[in-house]
Protein backbone atom coordinates (compact mmCIF):
# COMPACT_ATOMS: atom_id res chain seq x y z
CA UNK A 1 0.00 0.00 0.00
CA UNK A 2 1.64 3.28 -1.04
CA UNK A 3 -0.47 5.38 1.30
CA UNK A 4 -0.25 2.97 4.22
CA UNK A 5 2.18 2.49 7.10
CA UNK A 6 2.49 -0.80 8.93
CA UNK A 7 4.02 -0.80 12.38
CA UNK A 8 5.52 -4.13 13.42
CA UNK A 9 5.61 -4.56 17.16
CA UNK A 10 7.59 -7.31 18.85
CA UNK A 11 8.89 -8.43 22.20
CA UNK A 12 7.89 -7.37 25.71
CA UNK A 13 5.68 -4.30 26.19
CA UNK A 14 5.40 -3.99 29.94
CA UNK A 15 5.52 -1.06 32.34
CA UNK A 16 8.14 -2.83 34.48
CA UNK A 17 10.56 -2.68 31.53
CA UNK A 18 11.56 0.15 29.19
CA UNK A 19 8.99 1.57 26.79
CA UNK A 20 9.88 2.87 23.30
CA UNK A 21 9.29 6.51 22.37
CA UNK A 22 6.76 7.51 19.72
CA UNK A 23 9.25 9.91 18.11
CA UNK A 24 10.09 7.48 15.29
CA UNK A 25 6.48 7.03 14.30
CA UNK A 26 5.96 10.78 14.45
CA UNK A 27 8.95 11.31 12.17
CA UNK A 28 7.67 8.76 9.65
CA UNK A 29 4.25 10.37 9.59
CA UNK A 30 5.69 13.82 9.08
CA UNK A 31 8.21 12.90 6.40
CA UNK A 32 5.61 10.97 4.40
CA UNK A 33 2.49 13.10 4.18
CA UNK A 34 1.00 10.66 1.66
CA UNK A 35 0.24 8.17 4.47
CA UNK A 36 -3.49 7.81 4.92
CA UNK A 37 -3.70 4.65 6.98
CA UNK A 38 -1.72 3.06 9.80
CA UNK A 39 -1.95 -0.65 10.52
CA UNK A 40 -0.32 -2.72 13.21
CA UNK A 41 1.21 -6.16 13.28
CA UNK A 42 1.63 -7.53 16.76
CA UNK A 43 2.12 -11.24 16.12
CA UNK A 44 5.61 -11.11 17.65
CA UNK A 45 4.52 -9.46 20.88
CA UNK A 46 5.35 -11.86 23.71
CA UNK A 47 4.09 -10.04 26.80
CA UNK A 48 2.08 -6.86 27.10
CA UNK A 49 0.20 -4.75 29.60
CA UNK A 50 -0.69 -1.08 30.04
CA UNK A 51 2.72 -0.18 28.58
CA UNK A 52 1.49 -1.19 25.13
CA UNK A 53 -1.85 0.55 25.64
CA UNK A 54 -0.38 3.94 26.60
CA UNK A 55 2.11 3.84 23.72
CA UNK A 56 -0.73 2.95 21.37
CA UNK A 57 -2.90 5.76 22.75
CA UNK A 58 -0.17 8.26 21.90
CA UNK A 59 0.21 6.89 18.35
CA UNK A 60 -3.55 6.95 17.86
CA UNK A 61 -3.69 10.56 19.05
CA UNK A 62 -0.92 11.47 16.57
CA UNK A 63 -2.80 9.81 13.74
CA UNK A 64 -6.05 11.46 14.69
CA UNK A 65 -4.40 14.86 14.69
CA UNK A 66 -3.31 14.29 11.06
CA UNK A 67 -6.56 12.68 9.93
CA UNK A 68 -4.98 9.29 9.38
CA UNK A 69 -7.16 6.23 9.83
CA UNK A 70 -5.94 3.41 12.05
CA UNK A 71 -6.68 -0.29 12.21
CA UNK A 72 -5.92 -2.22 15.38
CA UNK A 73 -6.91 -5.61 13.97
CA UNK A 74 -3.34 -6.90 13.84
CA UNK A 75 -2.80 -6.46 17.59
CA UNK A 76 -3.40 -9.03 20.32
CA UNK A 77 -7.02 -9.65 21.18
CA UNK A 78 -8.40 -7.29 23.80
CA UNK A 79 -6.09 -4.37 23.00
CA UNK A 80 -8.68 -2.71 20.77
CA UNK A 81 -11.45 -3.33 23.30
CA UNK A 82 -9.47 -1.82 26.19
CA UNK A 83 -8.55 1.23 24.08
CA UNK A 84 -12.22 1.63 23.19
CA UNK A 85 -13.24 1.31 26.86
CA UNK A 86 -10.75 4.02 27.80
CA UNK A 87 -12.15 6.43 25.22
CA UNK A 88 -15.81 5.70 25.89
CA UNK A 89 -16.15 8.57 28.39
CA UNK A 90 -14.82 11.82 26.90
CA UNK A 91 -12.28 13.64 29.03
CA UNK A 92 -13.66 16.29 31.34
CA UNK A 93 -12.84 19.75 30.00
CA UNK A 94 -12.89 23.14 31.71
CA UNK A 95 -12.25 21.72 35.14
CA UNK A 96 -10.64 25.04 36.08
CA UNK A 97 -7.70 23.05 37.37
CA UNK A 98 -5.05 24.02 34.84
CA UNK A 99 -4.96 27.75 35.59
CA UNK A 100 -1.63 29.37 36.30
CA UNK A 101 -0.74 30.15 39.89
CA UNK A 102 -1.67 33.77 40.66
CA UNK A 103 1.19 36.23 41.26
CA UNK A 104 2.71 36.69 44.71
CA UNK A 105 0.87 39.91 45.54
CA UNK A 106 -2.46 38.36 44.61
CA UNK A 107 -1.75 35.38 46.84
CA UNK A 108 -0.76 37.62 49.76
CA UNK A 109 -3.97 39.56 49.22
CA UNK A 110 -6.03 36.37 49.02
CA UNK A 111 -4.67 34.98 52.26
CA UNK A 112 -5.07 38.31 54.03
CA UNK A 113 -8.68 38.48 52.94
CA UNK A 114 -9.16 34.85 53.99
CA UNK A 115 -7.86 35.68 57.47
CA UNK A 116 -10.13 38.70 57.60
CA UNK A 117 -13.14 36.66 56.47
CA UNK A 118 -12.43 34.09 59.20
CA UNK A 119 -13.24 36.67 61.88
CA UNK A 120 -17.02 36.78 61.32
CA UNK A 121 -17.09 32.96 61.34
CA UNK A 122 -15.28 32.96 64.67
CA UNK A 123 -17.65 35.56 66.10
CA UNK A 124 -20.63 33.58 64.83
CA UNK A 125 -19.32 30.49 66.57
CA UNK A 126 -18.77 32.52 69.74
CA UNK A 127 -22.37 33.70 69.54
CA UNK A 128 -23.69 30.18 69.00
CA UNK A 129 -21.70 28.87 71.97
CA UNK A 130 -22.99 31.71 74.17
CA UNK A 131 -26.58 30.96 73.17
CA UNK A 132 -25.96 27.28 73.81
CA UNK A 133 -24.65 27.99 77.32
CA UNK A 134 -27.75 30.13 77.82
CA UNK A 135 -29.94 27.18 76.79
CA UNK A 136 -27.96 24.99 79.19
CA UNK A 137 -28.86 27.22 82.14
CA UNK A 138 -32.49 27.29 81.02
CA UNK A 139 -32.40 23.49 80.86
CA UNK A 140 -33.26 23.49 77.16
CA UNK A 141 -29.97 22.32 75.70
CA UNK A 142 -30.03 18.92 74.01
CA UNK A 143 -27.02 16.99 75.26
CA UNK A 144 -26.37 13.78 77.13
CA UNK A 145 -25.31 14.05 80.74
CA UNK A 146 -23.25 10.87 80.36
CA UNK A 147 -21.25 12.52 77.55
CA UNK A 148 -20.50 15.44 79.83
CA UNK A 149 -19.33 13.12 82.61
CA UNK A 150 -17.16 11.11 80.22
CA UNK A 151 -15.53 14.26 78.89
CA UNK A 152 -14.97 15.55 82.43
CA UNK A 153 -13.29 12.27 83.30
CA UNK A 154 -11.15 12.47 80.21
CA UNK A 155 -10.00 16.06 80.64
CA UNK A 156 -9.78 15.95 84.45
CA UNK A 157 -8.54 12.84 86.25
CA UNK A 158 -6.82 11.48 83.16
CA UNK A 159 -4.70 14.65 82.87
CA UNK A 160 -3.47 14.49 86.47
CA UNK A 161 -0.32 12.53 85.69
CA UNK A 162 1.05 14.92 83.08
CA UNK A 163 -0.03 17.98 85.09
CA UNK A 164 1.76 16.57 88.17
CA UNK A 165 4.96 15.93 86.28
CA UNK A 166 5.16 19.33 84.58
CA UNK A 167 4.09 21.30 87.68
CA UNK A 168 6.58 19.47 89.87
CA UNK A 169 9.44 20.19 87.50
CA UNK A 170 8.44 23.84 87.06
CA UNK A 171 8.23 24.27 90.85
CA UNK A 172 11.63 22.64 91.17
CA UNK A 173 13.20 24.90 88.55
CA UNK A 174 11.72 28.09 90.03
CA UNK A 175 12.92 27.09 93.51
CA UNK A 176 16.46 26.32 92.35
CA UNK A 177 16.80 29.40 90.16
CA UNK A 178 15.54 31.62 92.96
CA UNK A 179 17.51 29.94 95.70
CA UNK A 180 20.85 30.48 94.01
CA UNK A 181 20.16 34.24 93.81
CA UNK A 182 18.54 34.55 97.24
CA UNK A 183 21.39 32.64 98.90
CA UNK A 184 23.71 35.53 98.04
CA UNK A 185 21.76 37.62 100.55
CA UNK A 186 21.17 34.82 102.99
CA UNK A 187 17.48 35.12 102.19
CA UNK A 188 16.78 31.48 101.23
CA UNK A 189 13.54 31.51 103.20
CA UNK A 190 12.05 33.72 100.49
CA UNK A 191 12.10 30.70 98.17
CA UNK A 192 8.70 30.03 99.69
CA UNK A 193 7.41 33.45 98.53
CA UNK A 194 8.90 33.07 95.10
CA UNK A 195 7.57 29.58 94.47
CA UNK A 196 4.23 30.23 96.15
CA UNK A 197 3.46 33.47 94.34
CA UNK A 198 5.00 32.32 91.07
CA UNK A 199 3.05 29.07 90.92
CA UNK A 200 -0.26 30.40 92.24
CA UNK A 201 -0.43 33.64 90.25
CA UNK A 202 1.18 32.63 86.94
CA UNK A 203 2.92 29.35 86.35
CA UNK A 204 0.28 26.92 87.62
CA UNK A 205 -2.39 28.29 85.30
CA UNK A 206 -0.03 28.85 82.37
CA UNK A 207 1.54 25.41 82.43
CA UNK A 208 -1.82 23.68 82.92
CA UNK A 209 -3.21 25.77 80.06
CA UNK A 210 -0.46 24.79 77.69
CA UNK A 211 -0.69 21.12 78.67
CA UNK A 212 -4.45 21.14 78.15
CA UNK A 213 -4.12 22.95 74.81
CA UNK A 214 -1.86 20.17 73.54
CA UNK A 215 -3.72 17.35 75.19
CA UNK A 216 -7.39 18.27 75.18
CA UNK A 217 -7.74 21.11 72.67
CA UNK A 218 -6.08 18.94 70.03
CA UNK A 219 -8.30 15.99 70.95
CA UNK A 220 -11.45 18.10 70.63
CA UNK A 221 -10.42 19.35 67.19
CA UNK A 222 -9.50 15.86 65.99
CA UNK A 223 -12.73 14.28 67.31
CA UNK A 224 -15.03 16.91 65.88
CA UNK A 225 -13.01 17.08 62.67
CA UNK A 226 -13.28 13.33 62.11
CA UNK A 227 -17.00 13.51 62.83
CA UNK A 228 -17.19 16.23 60.18
CA UNK A 229 -15.37 13.96 57.70
CA UNK A 230 -17.78 11.08 58.42
CA UNK A 231 -20.81 13.36 58.02
CA UNK A 232 -21.75 12.61 61.65
CA UNK A 233 -22.26 16.30 62.34
CA UNK A 234 -24.60 16.57 59.34
CA UNK A 235 -26.48 13.59 60.76
CA UNK A 236 -27.14 15.59 63.95
CA UNK A 237 -28.30 18.58 61.92
CA UNK A 238 -30.76 16.55 59.86
CA UNK A 239 -32.23 15.19 63.09
CA UNK A 240 -32.77 18.75 64.26
CA UNK A 241 -30.22 18.38 67.06
CA UNK A 242 -27.87 21.36 67.28
CA UNK A 243 -24.32 19.99 67.11
CA UNK A 244 -23.28 22.98 69.19
CA UNK A 245 -25.48 21.75 72.05
CA UNK A 246 -24.67 18.10 71.66
CA UNK A 247 -20.95 18.22 70.95
CA UNK A 248 -19.50 21.63 71.76
CA UNK A 249 -21.44 22.49 74.92
CA UNK A 250 -20.33 19.47 76.99
CA UNK A 251 -16.72 20.03 75.94
CA UNK A 252 -16.83 23.71 76.88
CA UNK A 253 -18.52 22.98 80.21
CA UNK A 254 -16.15 20.16 81.06
CA UNK A 255 -13.06 22.25 80.52
CA UNK A 256 -14.51 25.30 82.30
CA UNK A 257 -15.32 23.13 85.33
CA UNK A 258 -12.10 21.15 85.37
CA UNK A 259 -9.50 23.82 84.62
CA UNK A 260 -9.70 25.66 87.99
CA UNK A 261 -9.39 22.35 89.82
CA UNK A 262 -6.39 21.33 87.74
CA UNK A 263 -4.79 24.74 88.32
CA UNK A 264 -5.27 24.40 92.08
CA UNK A 265 -3.74 20.94 91.94
CA UNK A 266 -0.84 22.22 89.86
CA UNK A 267 -0.18 25.03 92.36
CA UNK A 268 -0.07 22.53 95.18
CA UNK A 269 2.35 20.21 93.38
CA UNK A 270 4.60 23.15 92.46
CA UNK A 271 4.71 24.36 96.06
CA UNK A 272 5.55 20.84 97.22
CA UNK A 273 8.45 20.76 94.76
CA UNK A 274 9.67 24.06 96.20
CA UNK A 275 9.37 22.65 99.69
CA UNK A 276 11.43 19.64 98.71
CA UNK A 277 14.20 21.75 97.25
CA UNK A 278 14.24 24.05 100.30
CA UNK A 279 14.34 21.22 102.80
CA UNK A 280 16.80 18.97 101.03
CA UNK A 281 19.19 21.48 99.48
CA UNK A 282 18.92 24.70 101.49
CA UNK A 283 18.32 23.54 105.04
CA UNK A 284 14.96 25.18 105.59
CA UNK A 285 12.55 23.46 107.97
CA UNK A 286 9.25 22.06 106.69
CA UNK A 287 7.22 24.09 109.20
CA UNK A 288 9.22 27.23 108.48
CA UNK A 289 8.54 26.89 104.75
CA UNK A 290 4.85 26.27 105.42
CA UNK A 291 4.58 29.38 107.63
CA UNK A 292 6.39 31.53 105.06
CA UNK A 293 4.12 30.28 102.24
CA UNK A 294 0.98 31.00 104.26
CA UNK A 295 2.25 34.51 105.00
CA UNK A 296 3.07 35.14 101.33
CA UNK A 297 -0.23 33.95 99.89
CA UNK A 298 -3.71 35.19 100.48
CA UNK A 299 -6.99 34.34 98.85
CA UNK A 300 -6.76 37.10 96.26
CA UNK A 301 -3.60 35.50 94.80
CA UNK A 302 -5.39 32.19 94.52
CA UNK A 303 -8.38 33.89 92.93
CA UNK A 304 -6.10 35.52 90.35
CA UNK A 305 -4.61 32.13 89.41
CA UNK A 306 -7.96 30.39 89.27
CA UNK A 307 -9.56 33.11 87.16
CA UNK A 308 -6.68 32.90 84.71
CA UNK A 309 -7.01 29.14 84.57
CA UNK A 310 -10.73 29.38 83.90
CA UNK A 311 -10.18 31.87 81.08
CA UNK A 312 -7.53 29.60 79.53
CA UNK A 313 -9.96 26.67 79.76
CA UNK A 314 -12.61 28.63 77.88
CA UNK A 315 -10.08 29.64 75.22
CA UNK A 316 -8.78 26.09 74.75
CA UNK A 317 -12.23 24.57 74.46
CA UNK A 318 -13.32 27.37 72.15
CA UNK A 319 -10.33 27.02 69.81
CA UNK A 320 -10.49 23.20 69.79
CA UNK A 321 -14.23 23.05 69.06
CA UNK A 322 -14.10 25.92 66.54
CA UNK A 323 -11.35 24.30 64.48
CA UNK A 324 -13.02 20.90 64.72
CA UNK A 325 -16.37 22.22 63.51
CA UNK A 326 -14.69 24.17 60.69
CA UNK A 327 -12.77 21.08 59.55
CA UNK A 328 -12.84 20.07 55.88
CA UNK A 329 -13.72 16.62 54.61
CA UNK A 330 -10.37 14.86 54.43
CA UNK A 331 -7.70 13.30 56.62
CA UNK A 332 -5.42 16.19 55.79
CA UNK A 333 -8.04 18.69 56.94
CA UNK A 334 -8.26 16.92 60.32
CA UNK A 335 -4.51 17.35 60.71
CA UNK A 336 -4.75 21.02 59.84
CA UNK A 337 -7.67 21.52 62.23
CA UNK A 338 -5.72 19.90 65.07
CA UNK A 339 -2.58 21.93 64.42
CA UNK A 340 -4.59 25.11 64.11
CA UNK A 341 -6.48 24.37 67.35
CA UNK A 342 -3.25 24.01 69.34
CA UNK A 343 -1.61 27.06 67.77
CA UNK A 344 -4.73 29.20 68.20
CA UNK A 345 -5.22 28.23 71.83
CA UNK A 346 -1.57 28.72 72.80
CA UNK A 347 -1.49 32.15 71.14
CA UNK A 348 -4.75 33.11 72.84
CA UNK A 349 -3.49 31.83 76.21
CA UNK A 350 -0.29 33.84 76.04
CA UNK A 351 -2.10 37.00 74.93
CA UNK A 352 -4.73 36.55 77.66
CA UNK A 353 -2.01 35.89 80.25
CA UNK A 354 -0.25 39.15 79.39
CA UNK A 355 -3.43 41.21 79.30
CA UNK A 356 -4.70 39.81 82.60
CA UNK A 357 -1.35 40.24 84.33
CA UNK A 358 -1.30 43.90 83.31
CA UNK A 359 -4.92 44.39 84.41
CA UNK A 360 -4.32 42.75 87.80
CA UNK A 361 -1.17 44.79 88.33
CA UNK A 362 -3.00 48.01 87.53
CA UNK A 363 -5.83 47.09 89.88
CA UNK A 364 -3.28 46.20 92.52
CA UNK A 365 -4.66 42.71 93.10
Amino acid sequence: MPDGLQLNLAGVWQIKGKLPATAEVEQQLQSRPEIKQVTFNGTDITDWDTGLLTWLSKVLALCEAQNITTDLAGLPEGVGRLIKLAHEVPPKKDTGKHGKEPPLLARVGESTLATYRAIPAMLEFLGEVTLSIGRFFLGKAQYRRSDLLLIIQDVGPRSLAIVSLISFLVGLIVAYMGAVQLAQFGAQIFIANLVGLGMVREMGALMTGIIMAGRTGAAFAAQLGTMQVNEEIDAFRTLGIAPIDFLVLPRMLALIMVMPLLVLYSDLVGILAGLMVSVLAFDIGVFEYYQQTIRALDLSHIAVGLSKGTVYGILIAFAGCLRGMQCGRSAQAVGQATTSAVVTSIVMIVVAASVMTIIFQQLGI
Binding site: T50, G51, G78
Partner: protein, 258 residues
Amino acid sequence: MSVTATQATPAAAHIEVKDLTMAYGSFVIQHDLTFTINHGDIFIIMGGSGCGKSTLLRHLNGLMAPAKGAVLYDGTSYWDSPAEEQERIKQSFGMSFQSGALWSSLTLAENVALPLGEYTTLSPAEISEIVSFKLSLVGLAGFEDFYPSEISGGMQKRAALARAMALDPDILLFDEPSAGLDPISSRRLDDLILELRDSLGTTIAVVTHELASIFTIGNNSVFLDPETKTMIATGDPNWLRTDCPDEKVRTFLNRGET
Protein backbone atom coordinates in the same frame (compact mmCIF):
# COMPACT_ATOMS: atom_id res chain seq x y z
CA MET B 1 1.88 -9.85 34.28
CA SER B 2 2.40 -12.54 31.78
CA VAL B 3 -0.38 -13.11 29.31
CA THR B 4 1.33 -16.07 27.71
CA ALA B 5 1.83 -17.81 31.03
CA THR B 6 -1.84 -17.58 31.92
CA GLN B 7 -2.84 -18.76 28.50
CA ALA B 8 -0.48 -21.71 28.74
CA THR B 9 -1.98 -22.85 32.02
CA PRO B 10 -5.72 -22.43 31.86
CA ALA B 11 -7.67 -23.19 35.00
CA ALA B 12 -4.52 -23.57 37.09
CA ALA B 13 -5.01 -22.73 40.74
CA HIS B 14 -3.89 -19.18 41.47
CA ILE B 15 -5.06 -18.62 45.03
CA GLU B 16 -5.77 -21.60 47.26
CA VAL B 17 -7.46 -21.15 50.61
CA LYS B 18 -6.98 -24.18 52.84
CA ASP B 19 -8.86 -24.81 56.12
CA LEU B 20 -8.82 -21.09 56.81
CA THR B 21 -10.14 -19.88 60.14
CA MET B 22 -10.51 -16.12 60.46
CA ALA B 23 -10.72 -14.57 63.91
CA TYR B 24 -10.26 -11.31 65.76
CA GLY B 25 -8.58 -12.51 68.93
CA SER B 26 -10.73 -15.37 70.16
CA PHE B 27 -13.79 -14.18 68.24
CA VAL B 28 -14.12 -16.47 65.23
CA ILE B 29 -15.57 -14.84 62.11
CA GLN B 30 -15.49 -17.84 59.78
CA HIS B 31 -13.96 -21.29 60.11
CA ASP B 32 -12.87 -24.09 57.79
CA LEU B 33 -12.90 -22.22 54.51
CA THR B 34 -11.44 -24.23 51.66
CA PHE B 35 -11.73 -23.09 48.07
CA THR B 36 -9.61 -22.39 45.01
CA ILE B 37 -9.46 -19.34 42.77
CA ASN B 38 -8.05 -20.24 39.37
CA HIS B 39 -5.99 -18.08 37.04
CA GLY B 40 -8.34 -15.81 35.14
CA ASP B 41 -11.30 -16.40 37.45
CA ILE B 42 -13.68 -13.65 38.38
CA PHE B 43 -14.38 -14.90 41.85
CA ILE B 44 -17.35 -13.57 43.78
CA ILE B 45 -17.34 -13.50 47.58
CA MET B 46 -20.91 -13.29 48.77
CA GLY B 47 -23.02 -13.72 51.87
CA GLY B 48 -25.25 -11.75 54.21
CA SER B 49 -24.09 -8.63 56.01
CA GLY B 50 -21.52 -9.19 58.70
CA CYS B 51 -20.53 -12.67 57.56
CA GLY B 52 -16.90 -11.72 57.08
CA LYS B 53 -16.61 -10.99 53.35
CA SER B 54 -14.34 -8.00 53.80
CA THR B 55 -12.35 -9.90 56.40
CA LEU B 56 -11.84 -12.68 53.89
CA LEU B 57 -10.56 -10.10 51.40
CA ARG B 58 -8.13 -8.85 54.04
CA HIS B 59 -6.84 -12.42 54.34
CA LEU B 60 -6.48 -12.69 50.57
CA ASN B 61 -4.37 -9.54 50.34
CA GLY B 62 -2.04 -10.31 53.21
CA LEU B 63 -3.35 -7.67 55.61
CA MET B 64 -4.54 -10.23 58.17
CA ALA B 65 -2.89 -13.45 59.21
CA PRO B 66 -5.06 -16.57 59.39
CA ALA B 67 -5.91 -17.83 62.86
CA LYS B 68 -5.60 -21.31 61.38
CA GLY B 69 -5.01 -22.68 57.89
CA ALA B 70 -3.18 -21.12 54.96
CA VAL B 71 -3.54 -18.95 51.88
CA LEU B 72 -1.39 -20.07 48.93
CA TYR B 73 -0.48 -18.06 45.84
CA ASP B 74 0.65 -20.28 42.95
CA GLY B 75 1.41 -22.90 45.56
CA THR B 76 3.41 -20.62 47.88
CA SER B 77 2.00 -20.08 51.34
CA TYR B 78 2.08 -16.35 52.06
CA TRP B 79 2.43 -16.50 55.82
CA ASP B 80 5.08 -19.24 55.75
CA SER B 81 7.26 -17.22 53.36
CA PRO B 82 10.19 -15.00 54.35
CA ALA B 83 9.65 -11.24 54.29
CA GLU B 84 11.20 -10.68 50.83
CA GLU B 85 8.98 -13.35 49.32
CA GLN B 86 5.95 -11.74 50.97
CA GLU B 87 6.95 -8.38 49.46
CA ARG B 88 7.20 -9.99 46.02
CA ILE B 89 3.80 -11.67 46.37
CA LYS B 90 2.25 -8.44 47.62
CA GLN B 91 3.33 -6.61 44.48
CA SER B 92 1.06 -8.87 42.47
CA PHE B 93 -1.99 -7.58 44.38
CA GLY B 94 -4.14 -4.59 43.59
CA MET B 95 -6.82 -3.78 46.10
CA SER B 96 -9.67 -1.33 46.06
CA PHE B 97 -11.17 -0.72 49.47
CA GLN B 98 -14.83 -0.36 50.37
CA SER B 99 -14.74 3.40 50.83
CA GLY B 100 -12.03 4.09 48.29
CA ALA B 101 -9.23 4.79 50.77
CA LEU B 102 -7.63 7.29 48.42
CA TRP B 103 -4.84 9.27 50.02
CA SER B 104 -6.51 12.57 50.69
CA SER B 105 -3.37 14.69 50.56
CA LEU B 106 -2.64 13.58 46.97
CA THR B 107 -4.46 14.40 43.73
CA LEU B 108 -6.04 11.54 41.76
CA ALA B 109 -3.06 11.52 39.40
CA GLU B 110 -0.63 11.37 42.31
CA ASN B 111 -2.66 8.60 43.93
CA VAL B 112 -2.37 6.41 40.83
CA ALA B 113 1.22 7.47 40.14
CA LEU B 114 2.55 6.60 43.59
CA PRO B 115 2.83 2.82 43.11
CA LEU B 116 4.20 3.36 39.59
CA GLY B 117 6.88 5.67 40.92
CA GLU B 118 7.81 3.23 43.68
CA TYR B 119 7.94 0.00 41.70
CA THR B 120 8.85 0.90 38.10
CA THR B 121 11.73 2.73 36.42
CA LEU B 122 9.43 4.72 34.14
CA SER B 123 10.05 8.41 33.53
CA PRO B 124 7.61 10.95 35.05
CA ALA B 125 6.21 11.63 31.55
CA GLU B 126 5.54 7.93 30.94
CA ILE B 127 3.98 7.61 34.38
CA SER B 128 1.65 10.51 33.70
CA GLU B 129 0.55 8.88 30.40
CA ILE B 130 -0.19 5.62 32.20
CA VAL B 131 -2.04 7.50 34.93
CA SER B 132 -4.21 9.30 32.38
CA PHE B 133 -4.92 6.02 30.62
CA LYS B 134 -5.91 4.28 33.86
CA LEU B 135 -8.16 7.17 34.84
CA SER B 136 -9.80 7.14 31.41
CA LEU B 137 -10.40 3.39 31.79
CA VAL B 138 -12.59 4.13 34.80
CA GLY B 139 -14.20 7.11 33.05
CA LEU B 140 -12.34 9.82 34.94
CA ALA B 141 -10.27 11.35 32.13
CA GLY B 142 -9.60 15.00 32.87
CA PHE B 143 -9.86 14.64 36.66
CA GLU B 144 -6.11 14.20 37.17
CA ASP B 145 -5.62 17.32 39.27
CA PHE B 146 -8.59 16.89 41.58
CA TYR B 147 -8.18 15.97 45.23
CA PRO B 148 -10.32 13.09 46.52
CA SER B 149 -12.35 15.48 48.67
CA GLU B 150 -13.32 17.47 45.57
CA ILE B 151 -15.09 14.63 43.74
CA SER B 152 -18.17 12.57 44.54
CA GLY B 153 -18.19 9.28 46.43
CA GLY B 154 -18.83 7.23 43.28
CA MET B 155 -15.98 8.96 41.51
CA GLN B 156 -13.68 8.34 44.47
CA LYS B 157 -14.55 4.68 44.20
CA ARG B 158 -13.66 4.56 40.52
CA ALA B 159 -10.42 6.46 41.15
CA ALA B 160 -9.57 3.83 43.77
CA LEU B 161 -10.04 1.15 41.10
CA ALA B 162 -7.63 3.03 38.85
CA ARG B 163 -5.09 3.04 41.66
CA ALA B 164 -5.60 -0.67 42.28
CA MET B 165 -4.91 -1.32 38.58
CA ALA B 166 -1.87 0.97 38.46
CA LEU B 167 0.77 -1.75 38.33
CA ASP B 168 -1.29 -4.15 36.18
CA PRO B 169 -1.37 -6.62 39.07
CA ASP B 170 -1.96 -10.33 38.57
CA ILE B 171 -4.62 -10.33 41.26
CA LEU B 172 -7.21 -7.61 41.70
CA LEU B 173 -9.30 -7.52 44.86
CA PHE B 174 -12.40 -5.36 44.88
CA ASP B 175 -14.46 -4.65 48.00
CA GLU B 176 -17.96 -3.72 46.81
CA PRO B 177 -16.73 -1.86 43.74
CA SER B 178 -20.14 -0.98 42.34
CA ALA B 179 -21.87 0.10 45.56
CA GLY B 180 -22.77 3.76 45.17
CA LEU B 181 -22.24 3.83 41.40
CA ASP B 182 -24.92 4.83 38.92
CA PRO B 183 -26.21 1.99 36.69
CA ILE B 184 -24.17 3.09 33.68
CA SER B 185 -20.92 3.42 35.58
CA SER B 186 -21.72 0.12 37.24
CA ARG B 187 -22.23 -1.60 33.86
CA ARG B 188 -19.02 -0.03 32.56
CA LEU B 189 -17.23 -1.37 35.61
CA ASP B 190 -18.49 -4.88 34.86
CA ASP B 191 -17.24 -4.51 31.28
CA LEU B 192 -13.89 -3.33 32.57
CA ILE B 193 -13.57 -6.27 34.97
CA LEU B 194 -14.41 -8.74 32.23
CA GLU B 195 -12.01 -7.04 29.83
CA LEU B 196 -9.14 -7.04 32.33
CA ARG B 197 -9.63 -10.76 32.76
CA ASP B 198 -10.03 -11.52 29.05
CA SER B 199 -7.20 -9.31 27.78
CA LEU B 200 -4.65 -9.31 30.55
CA GLY B 201 -5.56 -12.58 32.24
CA THR B 202 -5.99 -10.89 35.62
CA THR B 203 -7.43 -12.97 38.43
CA ILE B 204 -10.14 -10.97 40.14
CA ALA B 205 -11.88 -11.47 43.47
CA VAL B 206 -14.90 -9.28 44.14
CA VAL B 207 -17.03 -8.78 47.22
CA THR B 208 -20.42 -7.71 45.93
CA HIS B 209 -24.15 -7.85 46.57
CA GLU B 210 -25.22 -6.74 43.11
CA LEU B 211 -26.97 -9.79 41.74
CA ALA B 212 -26.91 -8.48 38.16
CA SER B 213 -23.19 -8.05 38.46
CA ILE B 214 -22.68 -11.43 40.10
CA PHE B 215 -24.31 -13.29 37.22
CA THR B 216 -22.72 -11.16 34.49
CA ILE B 217 -19.12 -11.33 35.55
CA GLY B 218 -18.72 -14.14 38.07
CA ASN B 219 -17.58 -17.58 36.97
CA ASN B 220 -16.71 -18.85 40.43
CA SER B 221 -17.77 -17.94 43.93
CA VAL B 222 -17.93 -18.74 47.60
CA PHE B 223 -20.94 -18.21 49.84
CA LEU B 224 -20.26 -17.40 53.49
CA ASP B 225 -22.97 -18.06 56.03
CA PRO B 226 -23.05 -15.81 59.10
CA GLU B 227 -25.03 -18.30 61.22
CA THR B 228 -22.95 -21.43 60.89
CA LYS B 229 -19.86 -19.23 60.44
CA THR B 230 -18.52 -21.19 57.53
CA MET B 231 -18.89 -21.48 53.77
CA ILE B 232 -21.92 -23.34 52.51
CA ALA B 233 -21.33 -23.28 48.77
CA THR B 234 -18.70 -22.64 46.14
CA GLY B 235 -18.83 -22.68 42.35
CA ASP B 236 -20.26 -20.81 39.37
CA PRO B 237 -22.95 -18.43 40.69
CA ASN B 238 -25.16 -19.10 37.65
CA TRP B 239 -25.17 -22.76 38.57
CA LEU B 240 -25.64 -22.10 42.30
CA ARG B 241 -28.69 -19.97 41.56
CA THR B 242 -30.68 -22.89 40.21
CA ASP B 243 -28.93 -26.05 41.31
CA CYS B 244 -27.33 -25.36 44.67
CA PRO B 245 -28.40 -28.05 47.13
CA ASP B 246 -28.50 -25.47 49.92
CA GLU B 247 -31.72 -23.51 49.97
CA LYS B 248 -30.18 -20.49 51.71
CA VAL B 249 -27.88 -19.91 48.74
CA ARG B 250 -30.70 -20.27 46.21
CA THR B 251 -32.86 -17.84 48.18
CA PHE B 252 -30.01 -15.32 48.36
CA LEU B 253 -29.30 -15.51 44.66
CA ASN B 254 -32.99 -15.12 43.82
CA ARG B 255 -33.49 -12.11 46.08
CA GLY B 256 -35.54 -14.10 48.56
CA GLU B 257 -38.06 -15.11 45.88
CA THR B 258 -38.34 -18.84 45.33
